[in-house]
Amino acid sequence: MTSTETRRTSQPNGRAEDSTVLAGPTSDSVEFGTGGPGGSTLHTDLPKSARIRKKIKPSRTGTGQVKAQSTPVDGRRRHRWRRWVTPIVVLALWQLGSNLGYLSFKTFSSPWQVADTAYQLMANGILERALLVSLARVGVGLFIGVTAGLLLGLVSGLFRLGEDLIDPSLQMLRTMPVLALIPLFILWFGIGELPKVLIIGLGCFFSMYLNTFAGVRNVDVRLVEAGQTLGLSRWGQIRHVIIPAALPSALVGLRIAIGVSVIMLVVSEQINASSGIGYLMTQAEQFFQTSVIFVGLLVYALLGLSADLIVRFIEKRALAWRRTFAGA
């Protein structure tokens, strides 16, 4: 190729641009610079259309919780107080119903009674002790189930051999309702902590396993190829391509696992428990302390809610790259 380079140092818009080196010897060849004025208009156009797509996405899926960015979202934020109206009205009507005698204090405690009971249980430390026991159960169970599900999901997702050895058996086991195993677990492991933790762990395990496996298997093969041409080793591929790509799916698995773990906790605690929130509730049932049952329900709900918040926080941090795209 004939190669005299032509340098143009002054841009029409007077910006201090790097000199544009052209492919041909004269400046009236097919000219394209890296960053002329034409370039900037062209490129600001594109993100704009991308932004519009972002705006539509959250409202269509109805997930809400969109950061203020456009007028409809601003409106949603300004009227946030309206979300509190219904629960407050319901609580007020409930309290009113109790006071006017429409609801029996014995079978349907009033909000005030529930609050009072909760305060007393906290004051004498009963609630705290029960909560710690329940938290420990759910924590250990979750840890075991999530770790096992993640590891086996990765192994069978990454390796054909792993899939052949692990997946068919797990798919068969998966069809069995975990809660139906409780009688067997009690026979095997007695009525201590072990069967409870194992039931929770097993409940979490499957959602974690399935979602991790699906995440690994749904990795875009084009990205894997790109990684190959970039000279990534097998381990480099796993670390830089496959695991990050599978992470969103695995986090969905974690979120489901946490939801399941609370359910498993509730059930396992109501059978043969001698401590924990569930024990508190079964005791209350025997002594007709309706308000304690309500407090237990409240604690379970708060447990589920805070677990969900934790996962959302993890997602926000770990999936920042996707957040930007979704326009959160």
Binding site: A23, S29, T34, H43, L46, L247
Partner: protein
Amino acid sequence: MTTTQVRPSVQLRGLRRAFGDRVVLDGIDLSIAPGEFVALLGQSGTGKSTLLRALAGLDEAIEGHIVVPRQRAVVFQEPRLMPWKRVWRNVVLGLDESEDGKPTRARASLALAEVGLTSHEDAWPATLSGGEAQRVALARALARRPELLLLDEPFGALDALTRLKMQGLVAQLCQRHNPTVLLVTHDVDEAIVLAQRILVLRDGQLVTDVQVDVPFPRRRADSEFGHLRSRLLADLGVLEDQA
């Protein structure tokens, strides 16, 4: 002319590839001199990309003899950036940390500056426009200092204006770094504007191998340009009236 004195950068002998009963590459022989810019033309489905993938080392079922440089880089039709890595990390992904003593970040900055994207170093790929993302892909390829640059219809998914700018950028960068280039495309004009040598793949064979003698600047209005264009279209099996 293919230089015989210099050891060729790419050498293929008896390259053959079939998908089921369909033979896509049927005994391809080719050698490309170092620093040569070769365009490979062909209608869709003729196996252009198959040939390029073979050179990239992505096709394990290929038969034949292939000699390619160790330092290769590929730019695909889509940018194929890792969406979970910031732009600069994408550029140096797979390069050893602080190779040749230079911190990797500096190397990324250098490559990004060459494609005019200095201000996007810390951006997430999802926030880039199509043209910007493709420029990052180009920077990623160049940061590897390839001896062989494989371009698989890299402008195919871009709008017409961005495509023109990208073609100019590629021409400029290839001249500066002088790698051997194989550009796969179905755009005859693009091939004539950019390449020193044009190959046409048809029915599994390289039916054409021409040096482009059209002087720079190559303007589409030139008669030589038009001549070559007609010839290549005929070789591709396209009647010009339809094109």
